[in-house]
Amino acid sequence: MIKVTCRKLRKTFVQGETQIKGLDDVSLSIEKGEFVCLSGPSGSGKTTLLNALGGLHTPDEGTIEIDGDVISQMGASELADLRLRRIGFVFQSYNLIPVLSAQENVEFVMQIQGVDSQERDQRAKAILKEVGLEGMETRLPAELSGGQQQRVAVARALVSEPALILADEPTANLDSATAENLMQLLENLNRKHQVTLVLATHDTRIMGFARRQIRMQDGKIISDEISSGSQHALRGGDPLTASHQEQDF
């Protein structure tokens, strides 16, 4: 339930002699409750764009508005509050806190939000169950597989019911079945609660869940399409996963 608009974003990384264009003149408007999928080759700027939308990167040029507020004009503390209260992040490399158990990681955001412990516990347990991690609440990240860690990271982003979810490759390490479950969970949130979803992925299996497809290359948006058909593109689509999908549906 958040509207995001960016205009003429430019972000250049300087690495020694070379300049890398992370974002090159990106303009984009995402309506409340939209489900957007960012795709494109590695290094095309997906992560950079997500970070910019979440106020983690300050673009060199251009403006980002979240519900009318220009985030480049916000102070660090205001931005932190924005992220804490309204945005759920799923980072590409999970970034769980190693000394906290799966459940404590999920509770982390709620805890800094000041949610009381009983409610935290309830919500964390419920979401962990939904992502298929029931019984693993007390495990430390190091005791979880990559896919399990990824699901904890997703659970952490979802549990506080943010208005905007920015997910970077949330299914990269998941098998098809788990990936699909997760996507359904996200889709559910998007539909029922009008959560705005922006999701970066290489995974063709899950692109179809999104109604809007944005493709990037070299920091530019090269296509931006609203798909009219079924969201479940992967059903008919990818031959590699087709047999698996038959079992599920």
């Binding site: 983690l56 992220r83 970034n95 190693p98 982390f108 955001v109 800094i112």
Partner: protein
């Protein structure tokens, strides 16, 4: 549990070895600090006890001119009254009055000029250790309280003087001198005891006799040269001094009486203490600094290796000051652990020396100067047990400022990209 507390606690035990090494550095220096300070304070206390306890006492109330120039006429009228008011005001029993003059003392074969001290046999043992240092015979006895009876003419004297005079127990000594009024004073007293103070100056030149006999002999009825007072806490006299000074001003405004504490009576002691303290303070400072650097190093490493997760937390919306708080919490936890363990072990070690005694190498010189035994027995005190560890704790927390400042410079994205 509060999230910072939980994180801090877990992080400490994430690198058990490193945490323990840092804590061990604190504990080691704390133990050292506690023991050394206890020994120092103990040795000061002992210096004071011995040097002052032997005879001069910790506090004297005198006529204001008496310290510079001890004249018979600069004395205190009705000392018993003063002693009684002092006892009431200070709650101390260890108070006694003395008369002091000089006289010629003769045995059958020899004569010497000596210091004659009139003491109250009952309360003198409370302010001086000489009554306990009798090696032959006994100390003076309180005269019977019957009125109109002549005071008992008995005397104790130092070992060396007894040898010089060639007198033993039961022998008689003749005293010749002048009374307070300038009259001729003469008397004969029996030797009842010989003391050995180990301080040649006293053993060679002092005789003691009952104050009432002294007053009778030197025509100084109802007068004393000064009043001696001892307290169990000679290192903290300010309050007591003030109380007594006020009392004197109220009750005896016209007599020009003055409180003299041991600092005034024996100025060398404080100088020795101060010299010793300031040389030790330097060493303590270096020790504390070393611990502080060790803490800084640990926390710096700990911040650097957590850059990534700190970045994550900030990206999730945690404000940097809460991470700063986290660093200080961790440091405080470590420092508290170091303080408690250090204080406990230090106190235990001190208690051990309290029982078996401690020999201070290099103390012989001071020992001889101030009449100290070579072995001494430090006390476990709250002050010595906690002051060092508290300083270490404060220094450790200050040392965490630099690592904590590193956090304020973190930017979530580059922190999350760190390895």
């Amino acid at each position: 549990m509060n999230i910072e507390l939980r994180l801090a606690w877990r992080n400490l035990w994430r690198h058990k070895k490193r945490t323990w090494i840092t804590v061990a550095a604190m504990v080691f220096s704390n133990v050292l600090l506690v023991l050394m300070l206890s020994l120092q304070l103990g040795s000061y206390q002992m210096m004071i006890d011995n040097a002052l306890g032997l005879f001069s006492g910790q506090i004297q109330i005198q006529h204001q001119d008496y310290l510079e120039n001890p004249k018979f006429r600069d004395d205190i009228v009705h000392p018993q009254g003063l002693v009684n008011t002092l006892k009431q005001a200070t709650d101390l029993e260890t108070i006694s009055s003395r008369g002091v003059t000089f006289a010629l003392v003769s045995s059958a074969s020899r004569s010497y000029g000596v210091q004659v001290v009139g003491v109250e046999p009952q309360s003198e043992p409370l302010v001086s250790t000489i009554p306990g240092l009798i090696i032959e015979g006994r100390y003076l006895q309180a005269s019977s309280s019957k009125q109109n009876e002549d005071p008992v003419a008995e005397v104790v004297l130092g070992k060396v003087l007894a040898r010089n005079l060639k007198v033993g127990l039961g022998d008689e000594l003749t005293l010749l001198g002048s009374g307070r009024d300038g009259s001729f004073a003469a008397g004969v007293a029996t030797v009842v005891g010989i003391f050995n103070s180990s301080l040649p100056a006293l053993d060679r030149t002092m005789i003691q006799l009952p104050l009432d006999y002294f007053q009778h002999l030197f025509a100084s009825e109802n007068r004393a040269s000064y009043v001696v007072l001892n307290t169990p806490t000679p290192l903290e006299l300010t309050q007591l001094n003030a109380t007594i000074a006020e009392l004197l001003a109220q009750q005896r405004p016209d007599e020009s009486l003055q409180v003299r504490d041991w600092d005034a009576l024996q100025p060398g002691i404080r100088q020795a203490i101060q010299a010793d303290l300031s040389s030790a303070a330097f060493m303590y400072g270096v020790l504390i600094l070393l611990v502080a650097f060790s803490v800084m190093n640990t926390q710096l490493m700990s911040v650097l290796e957590r850059t990534r997760e700190f970045g994550t937390m900030m990206a999730l919306g945690l404000k940097p000051w809460r991470l700063v708080k986290l660093i200080f919490l961790e440091t405080t936890m470590m420092a508290t652990l170091g303080m408690l363990l250090g204080a406990i072990l230090g106190a235990m070690l001190t208690q051990y020396y309290h029982v078996v005694g401690f020999y201070y190498p290099g103390m012989e010189e001071m020992a001889a100067k101030f009449n100290l035994p070579e072995r001494f027995y430090p006390d476990v005190t709250w002050f010595a047990t906690f002051i060092g560890p508290i300083f270490v704790m404060i220094a450790s927390i200050i040392a965490a400022i630099y690592p904590a400042l590193k956090i304020r410079k973190l930017d979530p994205i580059s922190a999350m990209r760190a390895v």
